[in-house]
């Protein structure tokens, strides 16, 4: 080994970290090299100084601080799990109860937020149409020419038992079970002698898609409402019939003279005599074909309110609403002179295919079908 290598190994030589061969070679070199002997002596003194460096003492609080910190961490770790699960006899039932509550709430929310059709006025109207034709009005003991008070004709109906006869249903329609109200047919027969009620009518919804529970829930309410509607119609029909009856009896009494008067345009109104200008026995039944107005709008659902408002502001009366997913139809009765105003309002809502001018009825009103 050279002098430089020997010099670098002096540090390991002092630590006894050299092999026996290296040691003998180093010692042999040291015996002849004064510089290496001096370097070794300096190195020994340096190591002696280093080893003489005193040790510092730890502060008295160090152990306590370390242990306290470690204890805190251990307790926090255990405390979390202990708080979460212990004591088991108390916490476990509470946790099970909370879980059950969550499940029930989730089930309830899942069912209440599901799309559904509410049993409201639609079913009431449908039930009214599905109800049996009104019984013929009781012959009124009133003197001809004198209208009986409304209470007299409604009194017998009010005395009817609360349970009504079952509504008319198709012969092969399956009867619902469990006392549910039978679903109304899509088109119920209407007594031709009874004029349609002025109240709005709705399209009958799909019966099969309606949950039975809804029928059961609103059965009582629907029956009561149907009964009230039926009584109102009955009242109206009986009044009308009495007017006609009285007119006929009077015409029999006064004979041909009255007929002549009637044919000349004087005397009783045409709706009573039925002889006015060959328009038939029931002038109120004459109504020209409704005019169909097609409206194109961007958002049909959002346009419902605007269109109904336009009709109302124009003085029109909404006779029937038919709102489906594919299209919407609004039957409107309007005074002919306000037709242009309505058209103007509708043009503000959407693109309008201009219909021909409607033919007004005898009462100066036109029937419109607004489709969008």
């Amino acid at each position: 080994m050279e002098h430089k290598e020997i010099r670098q190994m002096l540090s390991s030589y002092l630590d006894n970290a050299v092999s026996h061969a290296e040691r003998s070679e180093i010692e042999k070199h040291l015996s002849v090299c004064e510089n290496c002997r001096t370097a070794l002596a300096d190195l020994e003194r340096t190591l002696a100084h280093l080893k003489s460096l005193p040790e510092v003492e730890p502060p008295p609080w160090l152990t306590a601080k370390i242990v306290a910190q470690v204890r805190d961490e251990a307790e926090q770790k255990q405390g979390f799990w202990r708080r979460l699960f212990l004591p088991i006899p108390v916490k476990l039932p509470l946790e099970v109860l909370a879980l059950l509550c969550l499940c029930v709430t989730g089930y309830y929310l899942a069912h209440t937020t599901a799309p559904q059709m509410k049993l409201t006025d639609i079913s009431r109207e449908a039930r009214k149409e599905a109800a049996p034709p009104l019984a013929p009005a009781q012959p009124s003991p009133a003197v001809p020419g004198r209208l009986p008070p409304a209470s007299r004709s409604t009194a017998p109906a009010e005395k009817k038992p609360a349970v009504l006869p079952p509504p008319v249903s198709p012969p092969n329609a399956a009867e619902p079970q469990g006392g549910y109200a039978s679903p109304p047919p899509t088109k119920a027969p209407i007594d031709p002698t009874v004029s349609p009620a002025p109240s709005p009518r709705y399209r009958v919804p799909e019966i099969a898609s309606r949950p039975e529970a809804e029928w059961a829930m609103s059965e009582k309410e629907a029956m009561q409402r149907a009964e009230a509607q039926r009584e109102a119609l009955q009242r109206e029909a009986s009044q009308r019939e009495e007017v006609v009856k009285a007119a006929r009896e009077e015409s029999k009494t006064y004979g041909v003279r009255m007929k002549k008067k009637a044919s000349s345009g004087a005397g009783y109104p045409s709706e009573v005599t039925g002889a006015s200008q060959g328009r038939g026995a029931a002038p109120s039944e004459y109504r020209p074909e409704p005019v169909e107005i097609t409206l194109r709008v961007d958002d049909p659902a959002a346009a419902v309110g605007s269109i109904e408002e336009a009709v109302t502001r124009s003085g029109g009366r909404i006779v029937r609403r038919t709102y489906g997913e594919t299209g919407r139809l609004l039957s409107v009765q309007l005074e002919a002179r306000k037709y242009a105003e309505l058209i103007e309002r509708l043009e503000r809502i959407g693109t309008l295919r201009k219909p021909p001018l409607p033919d007004a009825g005898e009462d100066g009103k036109v029937d419109l079908l607004i489709r969008w």
């Binding site: 005193p54 510092v56 730890p58 152990t63 251990a74």
Partner: protein
């Protein structure tokens, strides 16, 4: 390294760990066993941290952090090395990190040899010179120790760690290899260079060694 003979005391025999029982008890949740280990090793860890960082307060914090880190990471201690070696490794790493933080902090500060490492609670105040020395000798010795500490502090971190572990804490080469995770040749080389630098530094500081 098998052919090398190192300075080892009896309790440093390879494969023998006198802390094994305490460590086992600690693993079973006995905080008292951990406390016993703290009491046993805290001084050594504090001195290692003090000689590497050069600051007593920093060294206290490093020692505290090292024991807490050991408590948290006892699961990763498999017993391949002795517990003291594993703990020393943690302490050296934390001391190195602290030293880097301090050096980065002092980068823009003016270097002052006189006041750099003498704090209120560290340095000579904690040293316990032999009472047999005269007052003059004690003063000279304290002055020498300051110079020596300054020379150690002037070393790069890897040389500082080697000289602290070997010459101040009397670790064996094998242990130093495990603590620093370097080979024996690297340890020898680092020790040689570190000792030469300290020797030169001390010669410049005090004249004759």
């Amino acid at each position: 390294m098998a052919g090398l003979s190192y300075n080892m005391s009896d309790d440093r025999q390879p494969g023998f760990d006198d802390d094994a029982e305490l460590v086992a008890s600690w693993r079973h949740g006995e905080i008292a066993a951990f406390e016993a280990l703290v009491r046993k090793h805290q001084k050594r860890m504090l001195n290692i941290a003090f000689r590497i960082t050069g600051d007593y307060e920093d060294a206290c914090e490093v020692a505290q952090d090292a024991f807490v880190a050991a408590f948290r990471g006892i699961g990763s201690f498999r017993g391949a090395a002795r517990f003291s070696t594993w703990l020393t490794s943690i302490t050296v790493n934390l001391s190195r990190n602290r030293l880097q933080q301090v050096q980065a902090k002092r980068q823009n500060e003016a270097y002052s040899l006189d006041c750099q490492f003498v704090g209120e609670e560290c340095g000579p105040a904690h040293e316990q010179p032999s009472p047999a020395l005269s007052a003059l000798e004690r003063v000279e010795r304290l002055d020498l120790h300051e110079k020596l500490q300054d020379c150690i502090a002037a070393l790069a971190a890897e040389f500082r760690e080697a000289i602290v572990l070997r010459d101040l804490q009397d670790f064996s080469y094998d242990e130093i290899c495990m603590v620093l995770k370097v080979r024996a040749g690297t340890v020898k080389s680092r020790l040689f260079r570190a000792r030469e630098m300290v020797k030169d530094c001390l010669k410049r500081a005090v004249g004759v060694l």
